[in-house]
Amino acid sequence: MPYFTLPDLGEGLQEAEIVEWHVNEGDSVKVDDLLLSVETAKAIVDIPSPRDGIIGSLFVRNGDLIHTGEPLLAFAGDEGTGSQTVVGNLESQDDSDNQDHFVIGAVTEGHHFGGATPAIRALAQHLGVNLEQLRGSGPNGTITFEDVQQNANLKHSHGDSTPLKGVARSMAKTMACAGQQVVPVSLFDQTSIRHWAAHTDITLRLIQAIVAGCQAEPALNAWFDGSTLSMRVVEKIDLGIAVDTPDGLFVPVLRDVGNREPDDLREGLDRLRHDVRNRKIPAKELQGATLTLSNFGTLGGRFATPVVVPPQVAIVGAGKRFIQPGINNGALFEDVQLPLSLTFDHRALNGGQAARFLAALLADLSAPPM
């Protein structure tokens, strides 16, 4: 069965996401008929058919991530083999260091695959290990005998690993980047909210308290550029709200929370959550946060050290309410406490600033309701 593999669509880009198939298994196609659309890091690209034929099987589905040289589809039957570059045995397609480095315009980065000797390749093939997914421990990232064996053992005992996609993939990249840059320090505290009315909108109260915190210490609402070591304190508070979805973590941005009425904020918040759940949120609504709130306590957990995502300098985490004994004039009573965590980037802020912010935030929460 002749295979059609993903070609290098843009000067050394090694992966693409399937946007949409325009054909189904069993369809007849002519050469140059549109087969599918894929998205690389640079472009959405339409891929036409390299030959006449009947579509036998599709190997990837809409939304899948695929690497150059991996099969997109197989044509039915065995009528002719077509061009060597396109159609042939899968075994001949793993020659991943044969790349086109010809460039008009911007130069792209090389890929991660550190290379392997023919013997290692043969071993990998024998053991069914995909060299593209290995990180070489040899000199200059070359893949060693031990790397392949270790991976084969893992695969044998625990099965294949699943590459992350979509939101989960971008979260992994963002967090790895943040983890390398930020110098995090966390402060924890708690405050009594026993006096809150039964139906108090906790998220709204938290937002108002964050605004109060920023009034006391404006430097928490800022962008910090680690490469130039420069700081930009932002007047408007655009608050990122962490939202958990089955597809992963989204952080839509609620704009200008310092100057909006509570009803307006609640409406904006509901709309953002609704858009996120329906995956209809425009990309620009996920950008430009100046400070973030993670209200993880609605799910569980008391204190946390959430990750500050640059260029922001801080993140506030609210935990699950809990009951503890309180003392008033020597008499015990049942108190309700709200736990709070503040993580800040010690490159941009110092402990005094963070503590003043947290104190103002707590003071606002423990104040009588407006």
Partner: protein
């Protein structure tokens, strides 16, 4: 001077009634159709892994065709990278153009018995071909050749030092040089209004003391008139010319680009209303020089010619690794002898 009013955009398609050159225009039309068919196929070959990164000439058909038709056998052509039509008309077979974009150096070995054998290969680094064109023009002048040099670049190239240096020597040495700028409004993602504050690109000729002409780059007869004039002037030792041909890049910058990320769909839609092939066909049909039946036949012919070229390209055995030494040295240094011997035992792989 070409025009009494310098820097007015020269057009001809709207006033063709008295044109004595219908045959030349229908020939030009056929060439433009052929190169567009070729262009579409080349993009599809890249999309299916059978060609490397490719620069489309969609929207530049009139400019490159006019260049190929106006050049005389003894002239020289120094291209940038969207001049497939000119190269074809100078005698480069279509399969060799595919070889070049497929990363096969043999595509640059232009046939010796054609005018193309005098020409330079594609130049991908921006505007570096222009000083070389000035060098060739200097040689032609010093040896009293009756020949002109036509060099091309894009609007982005006009911001390079190489461009100004070339115009400067072309003026002060009175070189037989024509520099034609395909001003297609976009240098990858940089639009024309961010490229220069000059009143037009042709105005840059002023500083060099040479003539600057603006012409509608979607108007084949106008382009032919301008290039006939400028090349003839050059051959007769009357100096260099800067030609700004105003077109629109209807394609992405290359197959590695996605112009929809920085360009409005409405702008592209408007540009399609002025594209060079439909405009010329309209004029030819109005003048009863072309009809629907000829159109159908010619389109089929174009497909056949292009399919043949693709077949020849794909069936060509890949280059062998030893070529990288053989194409570099006339006499192989002794120290590379053993390497050459090892390489000569290896088969080649398709590059694209």
């Amino acid at each position: 001077m070409f025009m009494p009013e310098p820097y007015q955009i020269h057009q001809r398609l709207d006033a063709l009634a008295d044109c004595p050159h219908w045959q030349r225009l229908t020939e030009g039309y056929r060439n433009m159709q052929l190169i567009r068919t070729f262009d579409k196929k080349a993009v599809n070959l890249q999309r299916t892994g059978q060609l490397g990164t490719y620069a489309s000439c969609l929207g530049a058909e009139a400019i490159a065709t006019a260049g190929g038709m106006a050049l005389a056998r003894e002239d020289y052509f120094v291209p940038y990278y969207r001049d497939h039509a000119t190269q074809y008309l100078r005698g480069v077979p279509l399969y060799q153009i595919l070889q070049y974009w497929g990363g096969d150096e043999r595509g640059n070995a232009f046939p010796a018995d054609t005018p193309a054998s005098r020409d330079l290969p594609n130049c991908v680094p921006i505007a570096t071909q222009l000083p070389q064109a000035a060098g060739i023009a200097t040689k032609a002048k010093l040896t009293h050749e009756h020949a002109a040099v036509l060099a091309t670049c894009g609007d982005g190239g006009t911001s390079r030092g190489d461009f100004y240096e070339t115009l400067n020597v072309a003026g002060v040495w009175q070189l037989p040089l024509v520099v034609m700028v395909n001003n297609n409004q976009w240098a990858i993602s940089v639009p024309g209004q961010l490229q220069t504050a000059s009143r037009s690109i042709a105005h840059k000729a002023e500083a060099a003391g040479i003539e600057g002409i603006r012409v509608d780059g979607n108007d084949l007869p106008a382009l032919l008139e301008v290039l006939d004039y400028a090349l003839d002037k050059a051959r007769h030792g009357k100096g260099a010319t800067l030609v700004e041909a105003i077109s629109y890049r209807l394609s992405d910058h290359t197959t590695a680009d996605d112009a929809s990320r920085y360009r409005k769909a409405s702008e592209l839609h408007t540009a399609w209303q002025h594209e060079p092939i439909a405009r010329l066909r309209h004029a030819l049909v109005n003048a009863r020089q072309w009809d629907a039946e000829q159109e159908t036949q010619w389109q089929q012919h174009c497909r056949d010619v292009v399919d043949d070229a693709v077949k020849t390209y794909l069936e060509h055995p890949p280059q062998v690794p030893a070529d990288m030494l053989d194409h570099l040295y006339a006499t192989l240094p002794a120290s590379l002898g053993r390497q050459r011997q090892t390489l000569s035992r290896q088969q080649g792989d398709p590059h694209a």
